[in-house]
Symmetry: C2
Subunit: 344 residues, 2 copies
């Protein structure tokens, strides 16, 4: 059965793939079983996160990037490309104009491209978890490159982008000063910076400003990629930390594209290839993989602990504590202590 | 000591207030103790979330709103106003231009206004939790109205906005179609909609489009305010649900403002007052309070369960399991089961 699923998926059965993803999204027993079966077959795909503020032409860029990835290779090495859209403004997730939908249809006509969007209104923290699970399924199904599209303004989106081996931050000229200010937050997660809509006035200024910001950020001591874990407060439990090879250092290139016309994509593809090589040779690839697995594991532990604890607690005890809390007779920490003591 | 802290804070000691907030932000024992002490004194403030895409002039609006709230009342009923900025593009959090900083300084000259910004790069899910704790401290300290400024694009920001009793969603004309598409997601959390920069072309169209979207959203069956809880999967534990009084219904008004010139704020203040009255008379105020307390409690339970579990587990066991996971010898769910069995 396990053998069958992996064979069906790697054989290119998109219907089964869609069904498995829906099971995973709905967190069903079948979905979890599929994840368990597929897990040994994961760890091969290059995960590329594409993030940026709404209006920067991110979806068109993802579209164009997917097509270029499919076209630029010879038949033997042609990668299969998966797209996961976690961006509420993406045409893939439904917030689309007619033109976008047409482009998207063009894309999905290619057998080697698989597109999946995700509802963005799930449980807190659940989005990154589901995205991670989706990448594992696509990875096992033989998709060599997985593009994860997120909107780069919110914290949860930054977390999702961090799942990726390579993070592309997209900007566009003329987005206003407020948008510029966002950069400070997402700049540090960027492996490649793209100024899209480079035919518009201000694109060169924008690229120059980004390079200046990068130089500042790259000055000694100020740039420190950090990957936090939920449980690793005690240093002796952090398996990942302090292993980074600092001899080699990646400097994020600043590229310009016009996605609507397909301009600048040779350079973007080259930058992605360069970053892939850097990740592999520096040991950073392995570190990112490990950090993601650890994060996934820790999220799962927390969920499981909460569910099991909840199952053991009589509803009446929970309810009476809640009522005391609502009346502000008991403070939240005290309520937690009380219920944990009850449930020992 | 408890008595002393609440007296100091209600007496208007902003330095102590800042220190308590820092303790709370850093999640120290002193911070948690302060929260416990202050908790019985909470539940009075009107929490107003202000959210919207970068570039809509949200910060200027928050600024202007705070000044108007202070000016529009007589001396006896003048509310004390707290501002919590959780928006990376806000001048309060540092992403500011010179003009913004000047305006902000004007604001902070008022004894009855307290401004606090928050780092937006904390742990996943931690931001909403810290914001909730901040509102409790300001509430206990006697701030009658607390403005929470967030950027309305990401999921975590939406969660923060939901802490509020009243959610104001700010738009501006000419932000492009991508921004428009975001609305679908945040429209359903809006209690008041504001088209800011109403002196720009397209403002009337924008307001009209919003009203049309609202009408669609308000058609029977399509509008359902939902407040999810982390643990309440079993219906018998949901104390809050199905209690809503549906006789009275709030229809979000669509207002226009020019925040840079202070235009439209009489209407905005009136709408806030109207919503406050609606919340109180419909029972919705109590429901939102309870939903927030339940969410806070459940987040705390999860954190505590994870920390305690982690403390009991020998680091070597955790590490060897992680190594098996990294080698994909063991899948995440299996790893969780293994460690939970070990730790019984």
């Amino acid at each position: 059965m396990a053998k069958q699923l992996i064979n069906t998926l790697t054989g290119g059965d998109k219907l089964t793939l869609s069904r498995v993803l829906t099971q995973v999204e709905n967190n069903t027993a079948a979905g979890n079983a599929a994840l368990e079966e597929l897990f040994p077959h994961t760890g091969n795909a290059h995960l590329i996160g594409i993030t940026g503020a709404p209006g920067c032409g991110k979806s068109t860029l993802v579209n164009c990037l997917a097509l270029n990835l499919r076209q630029s290779q010879n038949v033997q090495t042609k990668p299969r490309v998966g797209i996961i859209a976690v961006d509420p403004t993406s045409p893939f997730t439904g917030g689309a104009l007619l033109g976008d939908r047409v482009r998207m249809r063009d894309l999905s006509g290619d057998e080697g491209i698989f597109i999946r969007s995700m509802a963005t209104r799930g449980a807190l923290g659940g989005l990154a978890h589901t995205t991670a699970a989706f990448t594992q399924v696509l990875d096992a199904a033989g998709y060599n490159i997985i593009l994860i599209e997120t909107v780069g303004a919110g914290q949860s989106e930054v977390e999702i982008a961090r799942l990726a081996h390579t993070v592309i931050v997209v900007e566009a000229p003329g987005m206003g000063d407020d948008i510029q200010a966002i950069k400070a937050g997402i700049l540090e997660i960027a492996d490649i910076l793209v100024v899209n809509k480079a035919d518009k006035p201000g694109a060169e200024n924008n690229a120059r400003a980004l390079r200046a910001m990068l130089e500042m950020a790259n000055s000694p001591g100020s740039y420190a990629p950090s990957r936090k874990h939920l449980l690793s407060s005690s240093p002796n439990k952090s398996v990942v930390a302090d292993k980074q090879n600092n001899e080699e250092k990646w400097t994020p290139p600043v590229l310009t594209t016009v996605a609507t016309e397909g301009k600048g994509f040779d350079e973007l593809l080259q930058a992605i290839k360069d970053h892939h090589n850097y990740l592999k040779s520096s040991g950073e690839w392995e570190l990112r993989e490990q950090a993601n697995l650890q994060l996934e594991f820790e999220t799962l532990i927390r969920d499981t602990l909460a569910v099991r604890w909840n199952e053991k607690l009589p509803p009446s005890v929970y309810e009476s504590t809640m009522r005391d809390l609502y009346k502000r007779k008991i403070a939240p920490h005290t309520a937690v202590e009380k219920l944990l003591a009850y449930n020992k």
